[in-house]
Amino acid sequence: MNSGVVGYGVYVPRFRIKRDEYVKAWGSFNARGVDEKAVAGLDEDVVTMTVESSFGALKRAGINARQLNGMFFGSTSAPYAEKLSSSTIVASLDGPSEIFLADFGFSTKAGTAALLSCLDFVSSGRGDLGLVGVSDMPQAMPIDSLEHGLGVGSASFVIGKNDVMANVEGAHSSSLEIIGERYRRQGKRFLNDSGIGAYTEQAFNQALTISVTGLLKNLGLKAEEFAYAIFQQFDGRTAYDTGRKLGFKESQISPSMTVTKIGDSGSASPLIGLCAVLDIARAGDRILVASYGSGCGSDAISLVATDHLVEGRSKAPIVESYLAQKEYIDYLTYLKFKRMLGEL
């Protein structure tokens, strides 16, 4: 591809709940490897979070929102079932009224789908600069152990052709029909899953094996040629298990595993992981990103960091600074913040 990442930004809300709060409330905490997770404030949603992460991406890109030709938004938690979220984001950034908008959803693969679509948009010459904004705050019933790991977060990217921080050298995707794994019917608020971890892991493994091995084959690369490997993170273990099967070592995976501190941020999780890696990568480092969306499918993307990354990353806050700024809340406050005790 002749387009790449020219800016990136991240946002994690201020509030956190520790796993101990769940243990006190329910007797156990069922999100493996998650120590604590981020919680959105009462006045936050995926639109407000995307605006925050987009400011960081625009700063690192050194551009004004008026220069954007496209905005690609991804989330499974958009505030409206019908009404663009991207238009609110563009308006809040004081962006242009002549711009292509595309809102993605329906699975946790929405983030990489938005990213790849924007890369294609710029590569094809339809636009010079595109913004990708991905935020998520998945919800499940508190009594359902699926709820334990659900967190929140946002990542944004500016895509362009000049002063690229990370070039995209290829992408490969997969599709498999898997039913009754992670799903939410139209009009419903809460997620469901099979409750069978092995079923989810098998689907995850198969979808990622096809996308990742296909990408490596197309590019003529081996797993050890990647400095970092970033996977969809719905808990703190599955990414390691699948990564190992695909030939990646724990040391390639662990720098991106923000799930341990923010929980499952849905469609944003692999892209927040990418931001965490872009915070530390050196020029020439090769980076794999592989998403998973239930149903199911996977997108695998290979990027290579450049000198511009090292020069530009200090222009906006890094992931670590968001992880460090936090205020703990208890489980009852958590339920109020999630409007689980009713709404007026």
Partner: protein
């Protein structure tokens, strides 16, 4: 209830979403929200639009507690507790009233440095009303 209809709210979206104000071409005063008559020179002048940076300090503040919130903010008060309302003196000069967020009322103080963020203000007519709040700039 301080009901604001959708068309009225819609007309003010640039100022509510992204702090778009106006600079008087006659005297240079920055007006926020934009006005017909400039607060600086009192004339019905020509203006150019300007986006305010959204940084400033608390000029004054008060705290809204149980029973004190207007109906559209009562859910917020019930679920999140007391919250601060501040008069913010922006770097560019204008003073505006806004809610404080991501902080406890006890943290607020005169001259506290703050920055603007887009947040959900409330819902009305089944429509989400987004707008600017301010949060402390924490070093």
């Amino acid at each position: 209830m301080a009901y604001i209809s959708i068309p009225t709210y819609w007309k003010s979206l640039p100022q509510r979403y992204s702090l778009i104000g106006s600079r008087c071409k006659s005297c240079g005063t920055i007006n926020f929200p934009p006005r017909d008559i400039c607060v600086g020179c009192g004339k019905k002048a020509e203006y150019e639009t300007i986006q305010l940076k959204g940084r400033g300090k608390i000029y004054s503040y008060t705290i809204i507690s149980a029973g004190g919130a207007p109906p559209e903010f009562s859910e917020q008060e019930r679920l999140g507790g007391s919250f601060g309302i501040a008069v913010i003196e922006l770097e560019e000069g204008p003073k505006i009233v806004a809610q404080m967020t991501d902080c406890k009322p006890s943290e607020l103080g005169i001259d506290m440095k703050v920055e603007a963020v887009l947040r959900r203000l409330y819902e009305d007519d089944d429509v989400i009303r987004y707008g600017i709040k301010f949060r402390p700039i924490r070093a």
